[in-house]
Symmetry: D4
Subunit: 151 residues, 8 copies
C-alpha cells in the first residue's frame, strides 16, 4: 500500500503544537505530508497591507490580509485527507471553527484537539469530527494507527 | 421574476434578532423563506438524551444532541441561498463560525453580523462573506435590495 | 419556515414498521414526505422476469429485478433529506447497509434503528449515522423535534 | 499507457484472501496499488478506547473505534479506482455492504466476491457491481485483463 | 408518498413510440412528467439557419441547429429521473447513444428499447442501463411498478 | 411536458433589451421565468455604501457594492437553465464576460447577443455559447423553438 | 510549464489509427499519456464468459463482457483531459457515441474524427466537440499546438 | 510541507508580463508550476483554420480557433490552484474576464492585476478575487508569502 496521507493543521498559532506533531511524525517514520497555515502571527496579520498597500481603516487592512491567508487555507484544506483543528485556551479562534466547517462540507475527516473546559461550547464541532483528542500525542497515535494498523 | 429566496439565520440564540429580521421582512412584504435552527436553548441542549436515552458522561450527552441538531443545520444550510451569521457578545459561538465555514465550502453567499469589538477576531469569517453588517436592519435592507433593487 | 422534509425508509420489509412511522407522523401533523421502496416482497422479487421476460438462471432473474428496484431506491434516496434504515432480526439485510453507505457518500443524514443484539456488528453503520434509535417512536420524536423544536 | 490502478479490498477480515490477491498481483507483475482496511481484528476493535480513553458503555467504545476506522475506509475508497468487496460465510458483514453502497454513490467500479449460497441475499449489491466473482483468482484475472487486455 | 417522476424520451424520431408511451401513462393515471426533444424532423434540422441566418456550408448549418437542440436535450436530461432511449431500425442514431452516455455520467437511471437484431452492437449501452426493454409496453409496466409497486 | 424554463439576462444595462425580450415572451405566451440583475444603474453602484456605510476610497465603495450585486448574480445564474449575455456598444462590460465564464463552468447553456463589430474580440465567449444571436428577436425565436418546437 | 496531458482514444477498433497517433506523438516528442480501451476484438468480446463462466444466452454473455470493459472505459475517460473519438466506416459504433456523451457530461474536451459521409448523422456529437478532424494527422497537429503553441 | 502550487496566467498577451513573473519566481526559487495559454498571437488566431481547414466566414474561422484554445484554457484552469488575470490598457479582453468567471465558479483563488484606470469597470471581477494587485511584483510577493510565509 503506497499512500502518502496529507494532514492540515488548523487553529491555535500561539503554541508549538504543530512542531510537536511534526517531530513525533518524523520520529515514528510516518509517510505524512504536513500542511499548515502561515504561523508567523505578525506576517499573517500584516501581509495584506505590506504587499498590496496601506489602509486607513482596520477593517480593510484585516480584509486584505485575511483574503491572502484564505488562498493558502482553502487550497491546503482541499489537498488534505485529514484536517486537525486545535482550540487553545486564550483566543476565540473563530477561524479554527470556520476551517472545521469548511472541511466538513468537503467531506474531509476531522480530528479536533481541545481541553475539557471547552467541551460543551465545541459540541457541534466535535459532532462533525471523527475523533476528539486531548492532546498532540493522541493525534499522532491515531495517525500511526491509520497508516500501519498498530496500536 | 418569480424567485423565492431562502435565508438561514445562524448563530446567537440568546437574543431575539431572528424575530426582528422576520418582522421586518413581513412588514416589507419580501418573498423570503426564513430558515433557522432550534432556538429553544434547553431543548437544543437536551434533545439527544431526552429522545434517545440518558448518558452518564457529559461528552456523550452533548454528542447525541449536537448530532440531532446538525441534521437540521446541514439540511437547511444546503437549502438556503444566503446564510446570515450573527456573532453576539457573550459566548464563543464556535458553531456560528462552523456554519459559516460549511456554507462557504458550499459556495453559499454569507452575510455576517457583528459589532466592531470582534472585528479583528472575525477577519477570516468576514473575508469569506459577501457583506458585514452592523445590525439586523442593514441585513433586511440588503435583502430588500436583492429582491427588488430598491434602496 | 416553510420546508417539507423528505425521509426515505430503507431496510426490513417483513414487519409493519413503515406504517407505524407513517401513522405517527400523520397523527402529529408533521409536514413530511415519506418515501420508501416497493414493500410487496413477491413483487419486488419477481418484477424483473415478470415484466422483461423469464430467466433460467436464478442469478439473472434476481439481477433483472434488483436493477429495477435500484431505480426507485437511488432516485428516492437522492430526493430524501434523511434516510432511516431499520435492521430487523431475521435476515442479513445487506441491501439496508448498502443504502446506508450510498446515503452516507451523498452526505445525507442517516438514522439507524436496530436492537442491542446487533450493536457490535453494526458499529460502522452507526458511526456514519446522526442517531441510533431503538424503535420507531424514537424516530418520530426526532422528526418532530427537527421540525418544530419541541421535545 | 502509464496508469497505476488502485484497488481497495473491503470486507471479510477472517481469512487471508487479501494476501492471495496481493501475491497473485505481484506474481503477474501488475502495476496495481493495493489498499485495504486495518485487518488486525483486535486492533480494529480496540483502537478507539486504546488511543482516546476508556468507555464504560460498549456502544461508545465501538463508536470511537469505528469512527477512526472510517477515516481510513473513506479516504482509501475515494482514492481507489475499483472497490473489491468479499462477503464471507460467517459474519453478517454489514460494513462490507456499507462500503459497496458508499463506493457506488461515488461512481466507483465494484467487483463483488461471494459464494452461491448468498446470491439471493446479495442481489442488490450484485446489481450495482461491474462483476460478481466466485473467488480471488477470477478477480486477479479481471485485473490483468483490465491492465493489459490479455485473457 | 408524493413524488412526480420525470422521464426523458430520447432516440428514434421516425415512429410514434413517444405517443404510445404517453397514452399508456395517461390511461394508467401515472404521475409522470414526460420530457422529450423536438420531434419535428424538419424543424429540428433547420432551426439553426432558420433563426440565426443561412450558412453555405452544410457542416455549419448542422452545427448551428444541433447546438440549439442540445440546449433542450441537456436541460431536460438533467431534469429527468429516468432516461429512456429507443434505438430504431433505420438510422445510426448516434445521438441516442450520446444521450445515453451523457445520462450515465450524470448517474441517471437508463432504460433502453431495442430489437434483438442490435443486441451485440448495443452491448455497452445495455451494460450501463437499468433495464433493456423489447418495446414500449414493457417500459410503461416498469414505470407503473416503480410508482405503485404493482405488477 | 410541464417544464418552466428559467433564463438569466446578463450584460448591458443602458438599453431596454430586457424589456423587449420580456414583452415578446409574454406576447407569445411562453412559460419562462425571467431573471435579471438590478438594472437601476445608480442603485447598483451605490448599494454598498448606502446600506453598509460610507467609504473614503472608491475601491472599497465599489467593492462593497459589487459584492452585494454578486449575491444576486450568483444565485440567479445557478437557478437559470439558460444564461443570455448581451454585449452593447459603449462599455467594456467585463462583468458580462465574467457571467458568461461563470455560467460556462456550471455547464449552463449560454446565448450571446452582440453586433458584428465585436465578433473577433468575443470569439472565446462565442465559442462557449450554444448560440450567437444578432438581436433580441432571434433570442425569443430560439426560446420559442426550445419550448414548443415551432419555427 | 510541466503538464502531462492525458488523451483517451475511443471508437473504431478495426483499423490501426491508435498506432498512427501514438507513433506521431512519439516522433514529435510530445509529453502525452495515451489511454485506450482493450483493442483485441476477440478478447474484448469474450472476456466476461472467459473469466467469470459461460452463459447460454448471448445477451448475458455480452453483458458480462461489456461490464468489464466499462470498468476500463469509465476509469480512463475520467483520467483523460481530452477524449478523441473516431467513427469508422463499417460499424454503427454506438459505444463511441456513448463515450462521447459520457465525456461531455464530465466536461472533458472532445475531438471527433470522421469522414464527410457521416457529417449529418454525427451533428449532435460534433456540436459537443472542441474540434472535428478529418484524420489522425490533424489530431496530432492539434495536440502539438495545445502543448507547445506551434503550428 | 511538500506542495507544488500551480498558477495559470490569463489575460493580456501583448506585453511580457508572464516572463516577468516567471523570472522572479525562478530568481526566488519558488516551487511553482506556471501555466499559461498559447501566447503567440498569430498562432492563436489562426490555429483553427491552419489545422482543420479554411473558412470563408470570419466567424467560423475564429470559432474553430477559439474552440481549440479553450481546450488548453479549460484544462489548465482546472489544474491551477490560483488563476492570475491581467487586464491591460489596449484591448477589451473579454476572454480574461471570461476566464475569471470560469475560475470563480470552480472555486479557484483569483488574483487580478490592473491599473487604477479600470477600477470601476472591473469591480465585479475584483469582488470575486482574493487580491487585486497593481503589478507583477506584487503578485510574486503574494506567491512567496503563500509558499513560505515571509514578507
Amino acid at each position: 500500500m503506497e499512500v502518502t496521507w496529507s494532514i492540515y493543521l488548523s487553529g491555535e498559532i500561539h503554541s508549538d503544537w504543530r512542531e510537536e506533531i511534526s517531530e513525533e511524525i518524523i520520529a515514528k517514520h510516518l509517510a505524512i505530508n504536513i500542511l499548515f497555515p502561515v504561523t508567523n502571527h505578525s506576517a499573517s496579520d500584516n501581509c495584506g497591507v505590506h504587499i498590496l498597500g496601506k489602509e486607513e481603516n482596520t477593517f480593510w487592512k484585516d480584509h486584505k490580509g485575511a483574503k491572502l491567508n484564505l488562498i493558502r487555507t482553502k487550497t491546503l484544506i482541499e489537498t488534505a485527507d485529514i484536517v486537525i483543528v486545535k482550540f487553545g485556551e486564550k483566543y476565540r479562534q473563530w477561524n479554527a471553527a470556520f476551517d472545521a466547517g469548511y472541511a466538513s462540507a468537503l467531506n474531509k475527516s476531522i480530528i479536533v484537539i481541545h481541553s475539557n473546559e471547552h467541551q460543551h461550547a465545541l459540541k457541534e464541532v466535535d459532532a462533525s469530527a471523527s475523533a476528539v483528542a486531548k492532546d498532540q500525542h493522541q493525534v499522532v497515535k491515531i495517525l500511526k494507527y491509520l497508516l500501519d494498523g498498530s496500536l
